[in-house]
């Protein structure tokens, strides 16, 4: 489903990604793990064709991301780190706008919007202005726009950051419900979350892919009880520089 070959990205002198290669099969749930600033968001932005790689190639469902960018964007649902919402729109208006931009035919549009609002538990607030809603709702609206066109690949950048425990539970359940239907790629630095959702973990550190293992294998290799121990072993706190 996703093939990345030697992807590098630099912004001026800063090398954000170095030679990253991996493959993700259809139906897999993969978690990107890394400290803040490790390059997770940059990698996701490259896969959504929002940024172009400085070197290397990536393809999604067999199509090159730079050459067939419009076709690929139809297959991807993307939730950026901060849900990209228009505060002056109501939930329904926003989802309608997203549906129109994502090529959902006019005759099924209403159905798609109602379905996604039901899936994301948004029906109750459908006519409220987005500006007046809590962060948990905003995150769910962000997920709703990402799945409204039933994409084959879902890319979620820190889908639960800044939410309270109840909201985290709700969003996690939402992702769990989706996972049976499509390939999911999510990034987070909340380790328990990735343990609960993802089957395979990619760990990125300073722009390099340092681990690519199924969750069980990763725990076994490191002789650790949970992912937090693995993460701390790979990123020892004393080794962190202030500029990280």
């Amino acid at each position: 489903m996703v093939v990345a070959q030697n992807i590098s990205k630099h912004f001026g002198n800063i090398e954000a990604l170095k030679n990253i290669s991996f493959e993700i099969d259809r139906g897999e749930i993969v978690g990107f793990l890394g400290k803040n600033g490790a390059g997770k968001t940059t990698l996701m932005r490259i896969l959504t064709s929002y940024l172009s790689p400085s070197a290397g190639k990536a393809s999604i469902a067999g199509q090159d991301i730079t050459r067939n960018s419009l076709a690929i964007r139809r297959k991807i649902g993307y939730l950026p780190e901060n849900p990209p919402l228009y505060p002056n729109m109501t939930v329904r208006e926003y989802l309608k706008f997203a549906a129109r931009l994502k090529d959902i035919p006019a005759r099924t549009m209403r159905l798609s919007i109602d379905k996604v609002m039901d899936d994301c538990r948004l029906l109750y607030v459908q006519n409220r202005l987005i500006a007046h809603l809590s962060k948990g709702y905003k995150q769910r609206i962000g997920i709703a726009q990402a799945i409204i066109h039933e994409p084959e690949l879902l890319i979620l950048d820190e889908p639960t950051s800044g939410l309270d425990p109840v909201q985290i539970q709700q969003v996690r359940k939402l992702i769990k419900d989706i996972e049976h239907k499509r390939t999911v790629l999510l990034s987070t630095h909340i380790l328990s979350e990735i343990e609960q959702i993802a089957r395979r973990i990619l760990i990125i550190n300073r722009g390099e892919l340092i681990k690519d293992r199924p969750l069980e294998g990763l725990l076994k290799d490191a002789g650790a009880a949970n992912l937090e121990e693995v993460f701390l072993k790979l990123n020892p706190p004393q080794a962190q520089r202030i500029d990280d």
């Binding site: 932005r45 929002y50 950026p80 706008f97 931009l101």
Partner: protein, 236 residues
């Protein structure tokens, strides 16, 4: 095409969902009305030529306020990432945004048609200069909106976008004033660049294809540059 319309519709609704649109509409129309009254009262002529000149001058100040948020706000709030990861071409995004802002500008210009009805009621105006004058203002507004959208695509700060478009619009508007200070050879070029030259033709009833081409090519150039700027990934 449907996506261009979807974006244009969204742009237009964004204007009306903030109080700024209403404030701009009310303040502008009120100022236009005051100037219309003063000019007609002093000139005692059934012509809108001087009214058009005042309106054109005011649009130089007004249009950047309308257009500054168009791209800058989307970039600052992260919604640009949403737009650009949907299967929407950059051309549709630029055209949709232009169309939305231009329609809002047209709504601003629309009510001033009543000035014609007033002078028609009280006098016998020459209709041709009125018609070409409105057309000239409309085209000029189209160019100003295109310049404003271009500068908005360069930055994520609305203030920077507004100031940059003021600089460009002032240069376009006042360029003819620089002619005495430049060499003879540049004079025709500078006169051609000046929006005043072309708007003056329209307001006296001249309909030259060259003037129409000036505005349309200016709009096209700005929109092409906007598309390049949106595609350019430096600001991301």
């Amino acid at each position: 095409m449907t996506k261009t319309l979807a974006i244009a519709q969204k742009e237009l609704s964004v204007y009306f969902k903030s109080p700024i649109a209403y404030i701009i509409l009310i303040v502008t129309i009120t100022v236009f009305n005051i100037f219309f009254y003063m000019i007609i009262d002093q000139n005692r002529e059934a012509t809108l030529r001087d009214v058009f000149a005042v309106m054109e001058f005011m649009f130089v100040f007004l249009v950047p306020l309308l257009t500054m948020r168009v791209f800058a706000e989307e970039k600052a709030s992260g919604t640009m990432e949403f737009l650009m990861t949907t299967p929407t071409s950059n051309t549709s995004i630029v055209l949709g945004k232009y169309l939305g802002s231009f329609l809002f500008f047209s709504l601003l210009l629309g009510p001033t048609v009543i000035y014609y009805l007033i002078i028609e009621y009280f006098g016998q105006p020459d209709r041709r200069p009125v018609a070409t004058g409105f057309l000239g203002l409309w085209l000029e507004g189209g160019l100003f909106v295109a310049v404003g959208i271009l500068t908005s695509s360069w930055t994520r700060s609305q203030v920077v976008a507004a100031i940059t478009s003021y600089v460009i619009l002032f240069l376009l508007y006042f360029s003819a004033s620089f002619i005495p200070y430049t060499s003879e050879a540049f004079a025709p070029v500078i006169r051609y660049i000046s929006t005043l030259t072309h708007a003056a033709n329209f307001s006296v009833g001249l309909f030259n294809l060259a003037d129409v081409v000036y505005y349309l090519s200016g709009i096209a150039l700005c929109l092409i540059l906007t598309r390049i700027s949106v595609e350019n990934r430096l600001w991301r």
